[in-house]
């Protein structure tokens, strides 16, 4: 905590003769709107925030250090627990890193399954965000609608890999389980259903006057700030920079699908809301195409040696998670365990701008701004 933050100024107003005092408010780690064990110390003058300090680390489990004593396949379940709302993309980034190092070919069927899983997970993740964000804004029902539809996705994942949250689905060289019979059709049905449902979401919330007034022009920053703070994902795209790794550095088989990268130039909370909603629709487009092109048969695991020993050297790969760019750096000494492993976690980078955005804001805007960053504490603290 910075020393300035602990000193609270009190002064006697010349106009009224009353003594006024700034107040330190401790928000979290147990607070309904911090979305996990996140703590924020704010210095307020009335309802205006003067200064704030985020305190993180309550969920730190030392994933990166633990990984040094695990072989590569054993690391995969640990990544599930970082961004637990989007475990599929986390699974992918570690597998992708090792595959890149070892030059492993992944069979087509496995790539399709991975893309469908990742995009469904992106939708599920954005649904959780949508529901909880509206809960922050004070609307109760959207949360339950969002969770109903997310439940369908979780059921699909449950059929695919037996887990609802921590999937441990992908393996180096492919995926663990093939799609059960009829699963692809179910995904296709879900896409059609969800397309209609997104329309309902917009009808319920997106045009609401109170809602728009709460978000328009709040938490605004420009492209330079976004780049200075190394932001990614929707936080970056809301400032007008069109940057999506699925398009700009295509990995897996993303170059086979048609989809748009929604961007906005507003840079406020409303822009970020609209972009995430648009991303749900784009993900649905990708899943729809993947379902249509899904190969009839084929392997789900590539040719992988019994013991995975990437050659001596280092590599860094990055992919687009629902929250931004998730990266994985591996330094290998040719052993079956990494010598050093590091994750670039988008939530952590995106969160850094919070004190800057909160300065001079109303307390009520605090939750609107924090919510719009869309952090997952498991990922911030890793």
């Amino acid at each position: 905590m910075s020393p300035e933050l602990t000193t609270v100024h009190s002064e006697k107003s010349t106009e009224t003769g009353l003594r006024t005092e700034e107040m330190l408010l401790n928000v979290g780690p147990q607070h309904p709107s911090t979305h996990g064990v996140f703590r924020l110390i704010v210095k307020i003058d009335g309802e205006t925030i003067k200064e704030s300090t985020p305190v993180i680390g309550y969920l730190h489990r030392g994933t990166e250090k633990l990984a040094e004593n695990l072989n590569y396949t054993q690391i995969i379940p640990y990544t599930d627990r970082m961004d637990y709302l989007s475990a599929m993309t986390n699974n992918y980034v570690i597998c992708h890193a090792v595959e890149t190092m070892m030059g492993i070919e992944v069979p087509e069927r496995a790539e399709f399954l991975r893309v469908i899983a990742m995009e469904l997970n992106r939708i599920a993740s954005h649904l959780v965000w949508w529901g909880t964000y509206l809960l922050d804004i004070g609307a109760m029902s959207p949360f339950l609608f969002a969770f109903r539809d997310r439940e369908t996705i979780l059921d699909l994942f449950n059929e695919l890999c037996g887990a609802r949250l921590t999937y441990n689905y992908m393996r180096i060289g492919g995926v663990k389980w093939d799609a059960p019979p009829g699963w692809i059709d179910k995904v296709g049905e879900f896409v059609q259903y969800m397309k209609k449902e997104v329309g309902n979401y917009h009808a319920l919330v997106s045009g609401n006057e109170i809602f728009l007034n709460r978000l328009k022009g709040i938490g605004k920053f420009d492209a330079k700030t976004a780049l200075d703070y190394s932001m990614s994902g929707v936080m970056l795209r809301s400032t007008g920079i069109k940057w999506d790794l699925r398009k700009d550095e295509p990995y897996s088989i993303y170059n086979r699908f048609e989809f748009d990268v929604p961007t906005s130039t507003e840079g406020d909370c409303l822009a970020r809301y609209q972009l995430r909603m648009a991303e749900i629709e784009q993900s649905l487009r990708i899943v729809e195409q993947a379902v249509a092109q899904f190969p009839e048969g084929g392997e789900i695991m590539g040719k992988v040696p019994k013991v995975i020993r990437p050659p001596v050297g280092e590599t860094f790969v990055r992919i687009e998670s629902p929250r931004g760019e998730i990266g994985c750096y591996i330094a290998s000494q040719g052993k079956d365990k990494p010598w050093r492993l590091k994750f670039r976690r988008p939530s952590f980078n995106n969160l850094q701008v919070l004190p800057k955005l909160l300065e001079g804001e109303n307390i009520a805007n605090m939750v609107a701004i924090l919510g719009s960053i869309d952090i997952v504490l498991g990922e911030v603290d890793a």
């Binding site: 107040m23 309802e47 004070g138 609307a139 609608f145 919330v205 009520a364």
Partner: protein, 336 residues
């Protein structure tokens, strides 16, 4: 009931009066119990849930169980709280909530006090509750409850102005502040038609007075955790909760009387007794509350203030002006 008031004081009529008050209290408590049940059910259905269905048949005893739990809970008080004020605040909030019911005419015969200034009495008494809220916020010695209490005070005081202003139109039309006379003046047409503008302002301001969605800022859960009553538990918390729902009862009754014609039936359906009509109209308003709660997000504190002073108040004043001009023209005041 009115006769009872006129008689000289004797043991008999004092006892009768006390007894009637207890009956009303029980009716109100019964209402609160089932309003909470109804709210949870209605919102549950709107949100793809079932709502309470475990305690008693159809979950009908759920609220009873909840209240029993609150009663049996340990009475906790923060160490550095102001003891006396902490205990006083829930009473301050609850007593006026029940007091306002005295002037409500449920039908042409069921009314406790037929005051000439019924409207004024209701508004003046309900204004006391804000003291309870701000006392609670202050006495808890908690920053969240302090902010919640201050917000509450600012909000309730601000919205009382348009609330009163919107009623002025009705009072002008009736020429009386007596609630019973206001209902009787609506024999031909309910006030909602000539006073539609006033009705809208009243509806919005009442929502803010009741601290309900979209004006539920004082207890904005996502920012202030629970607002002014964050430190309260057990029966003291129940008192605040009770006050809130009793006000909803009161406000529902007031809307029914001022704008929806009280116990008056829809023409042609006069065989249905007045009390049924009253309950029907009143339930409609209560349902409207629940419906809003399931639909709306929450306003921000500063937007709330500017909305009251810059939005509602001018509309209410305009309504008074129009009403006054129309009445003057009808009475021919301009020609004389």
């Amino acid at each position: 009931m009115a006769n009872l008031l006129q008689q000289t004081t004797s043991l008999w009529n004092v006892t009768m009066f006390a007894l009637a008050a207890v009956v009303l209290l029980l009716v109100v408590l019964g209402f609160v119990t089932y309003a909470i049940y109804f709210e949870r059910k209605v919102i549950g259905w709107m949100q793809l849930r079932i709502g309470p269905n475990r305690v008693g048949p159809l979950g009908l005893l759920q609220t009873v169980a909840d209240v029993a739990k609150l009663l049996m809970k340990e009475d906790t008080r923060p160490q550095n709280a102001d003891k006396a004020l902490f205990a006083l605040a829930p009473v301050l909030a609850y007593a006026p909530a029940f007091g306002v019911l005295a002037v409500i005419p449920f039908t042409d015969s069921i009314q406790f006090a037929d005051l000439g200034i019924g409207v004024l009495y209701y508004i003046a008494l309900s204004g006391i509750t804000v003291l309870g809220v701000i006392t609670a916020g202050w006495a808890s010695n908690n920053k969240y409850s302090l902010i919640g209490g201050l917000r509450s005070a600012a909000q309730m005081i601000s919205y009382e102005v348009p609330l009163v202003m919107s009623v002025v139109g009705v009072v002008l039309m009736t020429g009386s502040m007596n609630l019973r006379e206001i209902v009787e003046a609506q024999k031909d047409v309910w006030n909602i038609v000539p006073q539609f503008l006033g009705f809208l302002v009243f509806l919005v301001a009442a929502q803010a007075e009741l601290n309900r969605t979209p004006f539920d800022l004082p207890e904005a859960e996502s920012e202030l955790v629970a607002g002014y009553h964050v430190e309260y538990s057990g029966f003291r918390f129940a008192m605040f909760m009770l006050a809130e729902y009793v006000y909803m009862f009161g406000m529902g009754a007031l809307v029914t009387i001022l704008f929806l014609g009280g116990w008056l039936p829809i023409p042609g359906l006069s065989f249905i007794p007045g009390i049924v009509w009253f309950i029907l109209k009143f339930s409609l308003y209560v349902f409207f509350q629940f419906w809003l709660r399931a639909t709306m997000p929450r306003l921000r504190a500063d937007q709330l203030m500017s909305f009251a002073w810059k939005g509602l108040l001018p509309v209410a004043l305009l309504n008074i002006l129009i009403t006054a001009v129309v009445i003057s023209v009808q009475n021919g005041s301009f020609h004389s």
